[in-house]
Symmetry: C2
Subunit: 138 residues, 2 copies
DNA sequence: GTATTAACTTGCATATTGCAAGTGCTTTTA
DNA sequence: TAAAAGCACTTGCAATATGCAAGTTAATAC
């Protein structure tokens, strides 16, 4: 999964080369909802990612500047992960995935509530959330 | 890849369970650009999908009603694949992926031209393309 | 100073992918 | 009309990736 073998020049293909697997976008999702996560936080997510897979995905995402590490304010033993601008820019993709899924799956109420906001003013929602995620308070 | 093992109720996770791999969205992409494709058409795409992988992905996408098979008008030996409404509804996801990729990769000129149209009027573009893909002319 | 927590790493069994070579129907061609 | 070619897959097998459990290492808590 590490190897940088670009399959074609197609933007979809290039994107999938980076985060087109079953786990990467879940890491991005966690960071969008929680803003900052530790390694342990990711492990707590409902899907149950294995520790080695998590480590390899975090590395790929970091190498590709979608996420970045920063020091935890409380402890040197902890690491905080955060989305970069490039990662935050995946927000529209993430939102459209949620909207699609809402139409074809039964989804949790809290997520439904969020999507209600999205549908009221998508551009406004994205702008506000981007601003939230962007804050440089490290 | 066939097994229906839902990892969680998260809409993102559920979506990735269906098409969260390196190939499925490329099949969807081909169908969005070409409208209808044969098995051989998919094989011709730049990324070079293996025949067995293609067969397994087509099956999963069909089982999940994202694509459907229809008879080829010219020959009984050929099969046409087409997006269902559920598949067409992935258009916003596909567009956002392209827009993200345009920002962070070098992408082909023809795709850039398409995205120029998208940026002029995203909703209009989606509506028009949806209509194109929806035609029931089989 | 010992125990615990946090972030990984390692080993190994299992599952998925990728490649090459079939198979079994059509359809075309000589 | 019989042989060749096209088309949509299957199959076998080696290579790679995933998933699970059990380390390891460093930092903090007790």
């Amino acid at each position: 999964m590490n190897k940088t073998k670009k399959r074609s020049d197609c933007p979809v293909s290039c994107s999938l080369d980076l985060w087109g697997d079953k786990w990467s976008l879940l890491i991005v999702r966690d960071l969008m909802f929680a803003k900052e996560c530790t390694y342990g936080d990711f492990l707590k997510s409902a899907e149950g990612i294995a520790t080695n897979i998590l480590a390899s995905r975090l590395l790929v995402l970091e190498e590709n500047k979608i996420i970045e590490k920063l020091d935890h304010p409380d402890s040197k033993a902890k690491v905080l992960y955060r989305l970069t601008r490039k990662g935050i820019d995946l927000l529209p993709v993430m939102i459209e995935i949620n909207l699609w899924a809402e139409k074809y799956f039964t989804i949790p109420d809290d997520r439904k509530a969020m999507l209600k906001e999205v549908k009221k003013d998508k551009a406004g929602f994205i702008k506000a959330m981007t601003k939230e995620l962007e804050r440089q308070d490290n």
